[in-house]
């Protein structure tokens, strides 16, 4: 983290994406339409935070989201909120979200500026989904005394939905980063960063 | 009383030249800026409070170079934006107005008194503890005015303040703007707003093409857009 304080523009982006996660998680955010399947868009908001505004701002956005829910706003899944959720068996998933945004943001920066679609899809799927479950599953297992294998098996049902959200995230990210190249500082693989590369917080480009 | 000078100011976004060698001295109390979209009028006024820094030339506000003294200049220049929603930064009406005072570090009772006075002046006192997002568009622009005026600026800039409002709310906001004692610079498409103004600047393609009393300036503008 740069020692200079976060700029106003960065604050605004972090706040907007944290609010976006909350808005997507609110019950009735989007009517479930023809299929009638209840979809929680919470994970989509987290993935987008990392993929659109990058590892630093995206992670902070999720931290703010988790913090505000813990503080008592009804912005967790199902309109719940408060410390009880964070301390409870599913609290690990909230911390997993924070890791997920960081990993996805980090991977996105590495994939830019070209952002090849299929590698992006694969990496984001593995990195993003693994991050959430890496913390969520053990936490749930330990707090409920359930064997990890059983918990992991239970999560399999969520994988198709997760993959759809990753697909949407990668599609959106590809389009958005092509239109606005300045959102995340590209750090592609296969190219050495020279010592003089600046690591200033990425200010939004004047649209 | 304000004294704003543009000296040889040029600016471009990427490959587009947005302002070309602007020289202006603004001392009048009521100044209007008109022009087509992309004429540079929004960029022009954003130079005054340092939201944009010119790539060539300089802007002086009461003798201070904005690029070097942005902090002091911003204390004296209030800015009203076009979109009523995105200039509200705090959850409640009162909090948003009070936010403008936080860097003045006033004693709590003085700050509260100024906030109350600003709310009352713009008819928002009954709504003080309401969630700001629940206000109407017109009320939100009045909130923006209250939040700007509570800090007692000497210059107020309004960038198309009524463009997103319906007719009735536009008139209310216009009236309040007219009642200000500060030097007022208004960018607008609604030319009727400028009838009582002292000076109207017409921008086109980054240049000043007319700079006169409202009558002649607006006649030229209307002719140009026909």
């Amino acid at each position: 983290m740069a020692s200079a304080r976060i700029s106003a523009r960065d604050l605004a982006q972090i706040a907007v994406f944290a609010a976006l996660i909350a808005a997507l998680t609110l019950p009735g955010a989007i009517p479930t339409g023809a299929l009638g399947l209840p979809i929680t868009l919470q994970t989509l908001g987290v993935l987008l935070a990392g993929a659109i505004i990058g590892p630093k701002k995206g992670t902070l956005a999720v931290v703010v989201y988790v913090a505000l829910g813990a503080i008592g706003l009804p912005i967790y899944a199902g309109g719940t909120g408060g410390l009880g959720i964070l301390f409870g068996p599913t609290g690990g998933f909230l911390f997993g979200f924070i890791l997920c945004a960081f990993v996805v943001g980090w991977l996105t920066a590495r994939l830019l500026p070209r952002y090849p679609f299929w590698p992006a899809l694969g990496l984001t799927a593995v990195g993003g989904i693994l991050s959430v479950y890496l913390i969520g599953i053990p936490w749930l297992a330990v707090t409920t005394g359930t064997p990890i294998g059983a918990v992991a098996l239970g999560m399999v049902a969520f994988l198709p939905g997760d993959l759809i959200k990753v697909l949407v995230t990668v599609s959106v990210a590809k389009a958005v980063h092509r239109a606005w190249p300045g959102l995340i500082t590209p750090r592609p693989w296969g190219r050495r960063r020279d010592g003089s590369s600046t690591d200033a917080t990425t200010a939004a480009v004047d649209a | 009383m304000g004294d704003i000078r543009f000296e040889g100011v040029s600016h471009h976004f990427g490959d587009d030249a947005v302002l070309r060698d602007i020289d202006l001295t603004l001392t009048e109390q009521r100044i209007g800026v008109v022009g087509a979209n992309g004429s540079g009028k929004s960029t022009l006024v954003r130079l005054v409070n340092g939201l944009v820094s010119p790539q060539a030339g300089r802007v002086l506000v009461d003798g201070q170079d904005v690029a070097k003294h942005a902090r002091e200049v911003r204390r004296r220049v209030g800015f009203i934006f076009t979109n009523p929603d995105t200039q509200i930064v705090m959850p409640t009406v009162r909090e948003d107005v009070a936010f403008s005072l936080r860097r003045l570090k006033l004693p709590a009772t003085d700050a509260a008194a100024r906030v109350d006075a600003a709310l009352e002046r713009f008819g928002l006192d009954a709504l003080a503890d309401r969630a700001a997002h629940k206000l109407s568009g017109g009320q939100k622009q009045l909130l923006a005015l209250a939040a700007v005026l509570v800090a007692e600026p000497s210059i107020v800039i309004a960038d198309e303040p009524t463009t997103l409002l319906d007719g009735r709310n536009a008139r209310i906001v216009t009236e309040y703007l007219g009642s200000l004692h500060q030097q007022l610079i208004v960018v607008t498409h609604q030319l009727e707003l400028l009838e009582d103004f002292e000076r109207v600047i017409v921008m086109e393609d980054g240049r000043v093409v007319a700079d006169d009393a409202p009558g002649p300036a607006l006649e030229l503008y209307r002719a140009a857009i026909r």
């Binding site: 982006q13 907007v16 706003l73 410390l83 064997p147 059983a150 | 409070n49 705090m90 997002h133």
Partner: protein, 196 residues
């Protein structure tokens, strides 16, 4: 946006937020390490008593613990079958007690009191700007209805035009408008001296 705060004048309500939070953390840690069903039973009973003292109606108390219900519905039988019923009971008591205690904190502390506690706790940290954190949290709270409106209106616009309403088709306009809003909010903050 309203929190879960239930107004009252009990000792719990009047306890300063920072002290309350630290007490909660200590208490929860102790409960997490209790081993016998009897000890946990007492802990849960005490917790229930605290709810009564705080004047929390049963409906709200149940809602505070509600979210764990579905997890326990699966975990208790599973635990009972795989490990033993003693273990399942201990686990259930522990989870309910911890979640209830944490929920009680939320029920007896206003959002602004917790925000104040967060700022107080962050202030002594050398590299953290507590004011900026407070601003960020308040800005986000303000932005939630703004983003709800963006999401809703993008969906409505597509529905009205009978156009593709897939998740992908909605996400791009939502992100675009979100970035524009962030830009404008950033402008407003700068104009009000936040970067000075």
């Amino acid at each position: 946006m309203n929190g879960f705060y239930h107004p009252g004048r009990s000792l719990l309500h009047r306890m300063p937020a920072v002290a309350k939070l630290l007490t909660l953390i200590v208490t929860v840690t102790v409960v997490a390490f209790l081993r016998s069903p009897e000890a946990l039973g007492i802990a849960l009973a005490v917790t229930t008593l605290l709810f009564v003292v705080a004047g929390i109606p049963p409906r709200l108390a149940l809602r505070a613990v509600g979210p764990v219900f579905w997890v326990l519905l699966i975990a208790v039988p599973l635990n009972g079958w795989l490990v033993g019923w003693d273990s399942a009971v201990i686990m259930a008591l522990r989870v309910v007690t911890v979640v209830a205690l944490a929920g009680l904190f939320t029920l007896t502390t206003t959002v602004s009191a917790v925000l104040g506690a967060v700022e107080t706790l962050l202030r002594p940290l050398p590299r953290v700007d507590a004011d900026r954190v407070g601003l960020l949290l308040a800005l986000t709270i303000r932005a939630i209805p703004l983003l709800s409106e963006i999401v809703g209106s993008v969906f409505e616009a597509r529905r009205a035009r009978g156009v593709d309403r897939s998740l992908r088709a909605i996400a791009v306009p939502v992100i675009v408008r979100s970035l524009q809003s962030a830009d404008e909010l950033g402008d407003a903050l700068i104009a009000r001296g936040v970067d000075d």
